[in-house]
Symmetry: D2
Subunit: 494 residues, 4 copies
């Protein structure tokens, strides 16, 4: 199991946020498709801030650029359309290590297949990645990355089917996990959502042309209209004749990831028909119903805790205040003077607003708590600013199980709630009271029927341990992949 | 007058925020002074995001680095203390053009005077800069920049006084305007605030050692205690014997810049004894008292409008909602596809949260309105998201007069409120109602006595036209300086 | 046929030198193998100046760096051994376009095969590259480059044999052309020279450990002793047990490339047992015997014409003078002022030494003449410097046929001697007399028996049209590969 | 005295060549003056390879770019004329440290004086630099560099004269040393050669417009005609009315630097009316007359030893052979593997050509010997290549005295010939015989009358100790300047 987790790069141990691998975007039939894609990716920047890429097709050839860093740095500039010409484009934004070597893992991935070029980008994770990669290497495939997308490309390249779409479906039949894919051939734009719809993908309309994006906020950015969610297990094939919808997988009930609502999606996005902002406010409201205590102010841990804190404040009538100020200019690798500035990590991102906190009983609202390292420091900062009491509420249930569908979380032994009771957690975090939203409360916040244990409506294993698919790679020996990763990581092109 | 304004670089015409020239920081007597300074500058990043510099002294020599870009990019990294060793350091963060040529204007400025090295950095603006520069050039001075700091350095270098401090005071006696200075010789750290205290400067205590900073948030960042404001017209000289306070200027009544509270200072800072956050909330409260109409939601224009919107909502009981989401990843020079995406500029920074806005009567709260270009686009975005009514309130009075003390604002003919009545403005901005805070309300929000027209308590000419000092450069012919600027701007070192 | 030529990047049309694709180097069993390799590549820089790469193996994993630019820029620096640790390394230097996109074509190429990692680098050209690449793509192989090395890697990866060496031999059995290969697995260093020994490869001894290099000058650089040439059709396998020599190809008579002596190899190298410098001097001597006329000075076109000019001068007793000075600081893409500086291209590299040329009858000696564009300009420069007569001699026979074994030459219709008689050439170049070495003279200069038309001793088709192997790709339709090239060329990783 | 020497940056101790500080170039009245200047500087690259700069004037303003690195890297590119527009330009190429901080020392230097802008560049050295700098700092001047040019700029800026030319002459009256200056105001191009004409400067004609350059090779490069040398102590003022010649200094006899002929100037240049190539050949011829022994081959230490070796060979009839091959691709900071590669430094630049050296009695000809470190290694390399005997001749007399006029040489205690007899030197260098050209021979080689000890015809103190001017700075205490240098060296702009 470790080898799966190890595919994510190591990061600042003080950084305690869960992370998504990726946002995807695609557009067909518009002039300056790469500029539209850059804007869409900019709106999806929160889904992956460390690398990004765009591939375009101009009727003659494919053009691809992949960069470390933000979309606004990589794809701003007036010559973008010259660099990436064409009327079709797909794009990707992802997390990755800072090292230049990992540029090979940045998407879109491109291959020059016998039937023509194909570019592909995905959000999510294949749970049988290692299994497939080993098989492919044994068959003579040469990998340039450790990316899921490259596995899919090899499966397509080796398919015995004739037409590109058939090869694609052939490949899809072999992969498992949670994913949203966008792909582009010299004729078509393709979008696929995994059989359970774990990862999101929406269809938009830009002046009559089709757009695919991980979230609706990308449609808003480019001025496109939201048409509908791509359905779970649906494959859409977009070309000059319009949009064709296929169902290449066995029928299954949808089970979208509930963590998109808790943390990942932007509050102004509508995911699977629900406003993320409204769901988060309901989480705060329900939290107040479940575990309110008497306080003077409700203070969000910014920014993701804001909607839940507003819901909490509105439900209780306690004033909502910005008691913690977020610094917009975060330098991740800032030097830390040796003289004991242990609290520096949190201070660089968050500052206490003393006038709101001093002498007050403070109810802190956070969206979720993973390892608790960040919470410890926020609580201490609030106490040092003079708070009389500090209470903490998590707008999601206790996180007890790791993810294998594209969310970067620590191993189970690092998950605070997997190893401690709520009372212990209150002591560890040094709060006067601690509370989590219940799983029932979470489903209520979703405006959903109560959770059906036999067939849950959402992917929610982080809270329940109930994984929506089998996890094939967990049973595989790990040495092989480790070395593959390590070797690739030492390739530097400059 | 144009030549004065022209000293600021041109910027995105869609960017309608006022801008400060600069934050300053200094620390004396600590190991790793440059690392402390980098952190302090990071907390002052909002006062100038386009360039930054640090100078340190290690007992033997001076070390200076100046960079375009953010503090976190320029001064992160584990070798900072090796690059900039020493126990004394000053730092600066500023606005500047993107062009590499302006690196020469980046501070701190350093000169190797006969009495030894001197580094200097300032926030603010000299109103007799052109006059002094012309005199100095006529006397044979060679300028390397168009920075006020260099004028001060030349005045010090040419003073006939013997001791460095006396030379410094000699130079101060010749400059006019609003400024906060930090300087560092091989023996001392010096801080100066202009005679009226227009620009802010505070004194902190870091484990018994003195710290100077533009705002208290920089003290919080490094874990220093706030001691007091440097007073208007005060010069503090810090060395191993402690802190000496001098009064080199004729006595005058303080008149600090009120715009620090309206927009510039961070909400968690305490400026001249007042919490910026609390002042802003009172602005919102007073605004509600002065011009409330019946609405469904109160929505701030993020982020600077948030405290006033909270005050407004608390005063009226109307729900506060995050109806506009700020994108944290702003690419300033993003390409704009030609196909009519006129609203793109605002969308890249702000997104409508449809679930909050659709069908609602919306009260938008902004901190201030300069040219109105941003407001037009925000209002249109809110309308397109389905708002039933859109009302707009400015938490400051109408801005009618330009600034000459370090704030970058357009000429008077571009200031919306200088050329239009409130009714006209409502039409221009396409709002159902428009309101500004009154000047009386602004003073009330400051917890101040009513404005004394004979001797106003604050620098407030943006609203009143009542400038606190004479403006010598306005009377000077402009050609000379223009050419100086142009020539320097074409010097590229690479 | 065009598609084969098109694999080489376009370059300055004024640049009229033939170009080699590449130098290779490998070393086994030494500490700091990458530093040794960097030095070896530095000595081979003349074989490819536009990109370079090194792969090392440290007992655990492989480390690869590939860079655009010179070896001295890419692999200088004290951290090289940390970046590329290990006791085995191979390296490569090559020509390539300046565009960053071609970094994917830079060698060594690495693949993580089922049997472990394999890095490979080659000098030369496969004459069935397109044929093999098409077959491999049809079988599902995904290519990342347009390099011959990647074809070989895929052939190895797909071989059904068990052991790495067997797979390697299996792959060799399918490739055709002229090449020298070095490869490195986690156990072995491998060197291969094509069945005819067209491209050179030598074995050296560095303190008892094996070294492979394209030329002996690389052995001199690292202080290694020359052991012997790798023989035509020989494969050497070097590991901790020593050196094993295999003969994987059908027996054939050696036929090394004679152009190595004419132009490519460094004069201090010994190639196939012959001193390059001595061969070139003999070319000059024979040239004098074949076509001397009465002149005052013998002037080489520097630097490659120097040895032949010395031989010519010694044979005739006419003084040898440096009548043309080579500028060591060549800026290839220098701007050319519009005002008529047509001769600028040559002047930037070569300057006339007037004191030697004015009023003299000048015998210019060049190593070879390809298109003649450079010769026209050199002759004009010498005339403008006041020469009374200008005679030109080429130290090689007329070049009439293009190459397909790793030399970058223009198409036949651009080869001066393929389209014009010697008399016509004299007029085109505006010389008082023109002469070429005869093919007989060339063989004499090699100290060889006269050319055996049935089984020529050297690869000499540039002069004779007698190609040493079949040229499979010439019969293939070209569209497919063109598009592959174009697509890859637009991939930018940054 | 040390402080004077210390103004030159430290460099590779294995690098034993003397170095010139700088080449200068200027052109008036041509379109695309900066492109012409870039070409001229390219031809002067040998006079300074580490930094370069160009300033242009377009009728409105001045444009300056200064770069570390070669001219071909800094000023190639098709946008040069847009970056540096105008019909007048001056340029400079110089040695400097690799550190970015020294960009401030790169020329041209520019100042915005009261009378308008002035850019200046110089080759040479002021012998009263420290004296003047101290005086200027005491008067309040602020220095940005440690360059002589900035001293001159300050002197001009402070002159009480009215017209620019008068100010310039006023400044010239205060400086001492050897120099060639080019300067550019908004009206004029100015050239000055020091009173003794120590450093060279020539006047050329480009289609009727004036050109100034350190050497005639720069005129050849741009296709300009050589007009005449600027005379010693002459100031030429070029504007639209033509060329005016002034004599601002007291009359003196010319005494140009003889080292230009020995080493610095390009062989194809004509300096003070003498062909450098011919002078060098005469040095070799005379050397043969003075100290020939029986040998088999004459081998130059390339490239600067080539003409003298040709003269030697022609005089003696012994064959001239390229027994040492120079590598054109020199990586200066190349890593040196720890395993004993002590000879690596020389091998990276020079390789033995064994076929010429093995078994032969070799006469090595070098242009000059400074510390001897390079000679030791060359001799050892030739011996290791199998030479039977190795004899060494220096084409210049023993170097015994340091320079203060712009040549970078080590202190006297490092000069080999200052501390050892010829016999000792033969032992140190391990040669079978050693010989130096005599001073008489040197003057003979110049086609000059015998040296007049009362009033020598050339600046030749390196050989004679007879300095042409007083050396004021040698008497000054050194601490002050050291600190100035150090402080400036730690300023980094990025």
């Amino acid at each position: 199991m470790k080898s799966v987790q190890d595919r994510w790069p190591h990061r600042d141990p003080l950084d305690d946020t869960p992370r998504l691998e990726c946002g995807v975007f695609g557009v067909y039939g518009v002039p300056e498709a790469s500029a539209i894609t850059a804007l869409g990716l900019h709106a999806l920047q929160h889904r992956g801030q460390e690398a990004c890429g765009i591939a375009s097709f101009d009727g003659q050839g494919f053009h691809t650029e992949r960069h470390m860093g933000h979309v606004g740095d990589a794809f701003a500039g007036s010559d973008l359309v010259e660099r990436l010409p064409g009327h079709v484009a797909i794009g990707h934004t992802r997390y990755s290590t800072a090292g230049g070597s990992f540029i090979r893992n940045v998407q879109p991935m491109f291959a020059d297949l016998e039937s023509g070029g194909l570019a592909i980008a995905h959000n999510g994770n294949l749970t049988n990645f290692l299994t497939l990669r080993q098989q492919l290497v044994a068959e003579g495939a040469i990998f340039q990355s450790t990316s899921d997308s490259e596995v899919i490309l090899h499966l397509i390249a080796r398919s015995r089917r004739i037409r590109m779409v058939e090869k694609f479906i052939d490949a899809l039949s072999r992969i498992e996990g949670g994913y949203a894919l966008v792909a582009m051939s010299n004729k078509k734009l393709i979008g696929v959502r995994d059989p359970l719809g774990i990862r999101p993908l929406v269809l938009g309309d830009l002046d009559g042309q089709a757009v695919l994006a991980s979230e609706t906020c990308a449609l808003d950015m480019i001025g496109a209209k939201f048409v509908r969610d791509i359905e779970h297990g649906e494959m859409v094939i977009i070309d000059q004749d319009g949009i064709e919808s296929l169902r290449p997988f066995p029928a299954a009930r949808a089970r979208p990831c509930i963590f998109e609502y808790v943390y990942f999606a932007r509050p102004d996005s509508v995911v699977n028909g629900r406003s993320v902002y409204e769901v988060r406010k309901r989480m705060g409201r329900r939290l107040a119903q479940e575990s309110h205590v008497d306080v003077d102010v409700v203070v969000p841990v910014p920014d993701s805790g804001v909607p839940a804190a507003l819901g909490y404040a509105q439900e209780t009538g306690v004033p909502f205040e910005m008691g913690i100020i977020r610094n917009h200019y975060v330098g991740r690798t800032f030097i830390q003077p040796t003289q004991g500035a242990r609290e520096l990590g949190v201070r660089m991102k968050l500052s206490p607003n003393r006038s709101v906190l001093a002498g007050k009983r403070v109810m802190l609202i956070d969206d979720s708590i993973v390892r608790g390292t960040n919470s410890v420091r926020v609580v201490r900062m609030v106490r040092e600013a003079g708070a009389a009491e500090v209470h903490l509420r998590s707008a999601s249930p206790p996180i007890k199980w790791p993810d294998f569908y594209g969310i970067d979380m620590p191993d189970r032994d690092k998950l605070l709630a997997a190893n401690h009771s709520v009372e212990e957690i209150a002591k560890i975090l040094d709060v006067d009271s601690m509370g989590y939203l219940s799983v029932e409360g979470l489903y209520w916040s979703m405006n959903s029927a109560p959770r059906d244990p036999a067939e849950p409506q959402f992917t929610d294993h982080y809270f329940t341990g109930d994984y929506p698919t089998r996890l094939l790679d967990r049973e595989i020996a790990e040495g092989r992949n480790d070395s593959a990763d390590r070797q690739l990581s030492f390739l530097v092109d400059a």
